[in-house]
Symmetry: C2
């Protein structure tokens, strides 16, 4: 028996489009394997929203090329409230651009969605940085899911491992290589390429953003380790409480010296715990070959969790870019509804 799951998507950039294509590509498989029919009920972006004909989506995989606002069903000024207020229960899937200071527009979207009984699956980080505690409390109170794999290294299952695979243990520490761009640049520096050339290469290959400072100065890692730490270790830290250092001051000489000693320098987001003193910080650190993240090179990511009863568990890999993020959001949606796996 097929269970219909209405989905409202906010944000229609590269990630939003990848998610729409993935929904279409995977629809038959999801029906068969999970007994779920994921119906895209609306796509909202700046300026309005699009409601597919017939109230659902039978979209060929390539159809995201056609702009939303030239389609039948485009409604200028359509709001999240208006769509959710009249629709059936389901999931708000959000991939709007983040504002890390205000958390808007997602913060308003998420509160509206939770107030109206919708689960939330987020790729955007802003609202979760600004008010994770409030959002989680509301979700729990209403018995709703608040999932954000897409915001915490996407296809690398950081949160699944932290909250599901490590259930019942105490997380004593976390160390993560959480930004592919900086790991790539460090690797190139180690090969003797200059910082500016490595950065240019990362940009030309689509690895780094046109404005790469968020990555290079450690803020992308900071946001991810913050969200992982708050979620996995039950904390309520804000970005301003994290000491953040990036990779601008790492020289080829420092990397070469580390290498000579058989070590490597990685940009790590870390949670450390000494008695009741919990600290979250971001900075370059030298690690040796016995460290489980030692071999995480290139654009790869990875995270290690140090626990009391389950030992050290490390997860590495995961597809990067919008397709990987879209696949992580699909995973989150499926895990809200499926029976015991």
């Amino acid at each position: 028996m097929l269970r219909i799951i209405p989905i409202v998507l906010t944000g229609y950039g590269n990630v939003g489009k990848a998610f729409v294509r993935l929904l279409a590509e995977k629809r038959d498989m999801v029906r068969g394997r999970y007994g779920l029919d994921l119906e895209l009920k609306a796509v909202l972006r700046r300026g309005g929203g699009w409601i597919p004909e017939g109230g659902s989506l039978e979209m060929p995989a390539g159809n995201t090329a056609e702009p939303l606002d030239s389609r039948p069903g485009w409604k200028p000024g359509l709001t999240v409230e208006a769509i959710l207020d009249r629709g059936e229960p389901g999931v708000l899937v959000d991939c709007t651009p983040s504002n890390l200071k205000t958390g808007e527009p997602q913060l308003a979207f998420f509160h509206t969605a939770l107030d109206l009984g919708r689960h939330v699956v987020a790729a955007s980080k802003g609202a979760l940085c600004v008010d994770f505690k409030g959002l989680r409390a509301k979700a729990r109170h209403r018995g709703l899911a608040l999932k954000f794999s897409g915001a915490t290294a996407a296809a690398l299952p950081t949160l699944d491992v932290a909250t599901i695979s490590l259930a019942g243990s105490e997380i004593l520490g976390i160390e993560g290589i959480l930004t592919g761009t900086t790991n790539f640049i460090l690797g190139r520096l180690e090969e003797g390429i200059s910082f500016s050339d490595a950065l240019k290469e990362a940009q030309s290959r689509g690895i780094a953003e046109p404005d790469p400072s968020l990555d290079i100065d450690g803020w992308d890692t900071a946001v991810k380790i913050l969200l992982i730490a708050n979620s996995a270790a039950g904390l309520d830290l804000s970005l301003s409480q994290i000491k953040v250092d990036g990779i601008r001051n790492i020289s080829a000489g420092m990397l070469a010296r580390a290498r000579t000693d058989g070590k490597a320098i990685k940009l790590l987001g870390r949670l450390t715990r000494e008695a009741d003193d919990v600290r979250v910080e971001v900075g370059p650190r030298e690690i040796d070959p016995s460290h489980p993240l030692f071999g995480v090179n290139g654009t790869a990511k990875g995270v290690s969790f140090f626990t009391d009863t389950l030992g050290t568990v490390t997860v590495t890999g995961g597809k990067s870019g919008p397709p990987g993020t879209a696949a992580a959001m699909l995973k989150d949606v499926l895990n809200i509804y499926r029976e015991y796996p």
Copy 2:
């Protein structure tokens, strides 16, 4: 509000005792963090069962030293049927010794438990090897959980990653170092120590079983990759359909040659897929430094999943031995009952 979860434990060897101690140690934390009160209602072993006074357990952490059959509440001849038939719904946690050919006694236990509306959490492998398909079908039909992290590398979250973190993707391949003993011995061989000395060291350090042939000949790996493959990739293979080779024919010379080439030899359990041809096999393989399991040394374990939409995801580590297995079973129990993590 605290939800009471009755637990019946079958098997009281090292793993069963570790689970009882862990329940006692973690009880307050589990109450506070998960809102669950895990009550041990009975412990069954060969010859009878023990029902704690007052119908529940307030057991000091060290109390497993006292034999069950000298305690008040010991009932000779007590059966699983008798206990489950009169008890409230809950979980059967099984860690009886496995018979890989017949699957008994677990197979009868699991069918009884599922028929009577109990979830099943297993550390023992026999029943799952013999009749996974039948057990899973029954569990799904009844809306019950059948979880067995404890049987599939325990604290290394192989099944969580495969079934939860990779939801919505196609698993195109699996490669795993799933037996700590063989990985340890291969490492020692590479260091120039003889096979028999390496084996003796593993035995004296409690890594290898007194009869190590199950590990060395690849069968421990075979059982684990079989269970992971059947569960993760929806297969219905039996042990007899797997080609299994162990590490007896690996010489120090072969390892040295691999090392000279910058490679390593690992005993891998593998699932490969070419079109509709799915193959599961166990054997030593040469891997190079770019392989995500290259750095998994000593008694460590790890598994890589190759997928279509989420890329390659690798998980490594996890505590070994009875305490790690007990912690993996506790995790499974918690994940049956908790709300959205």
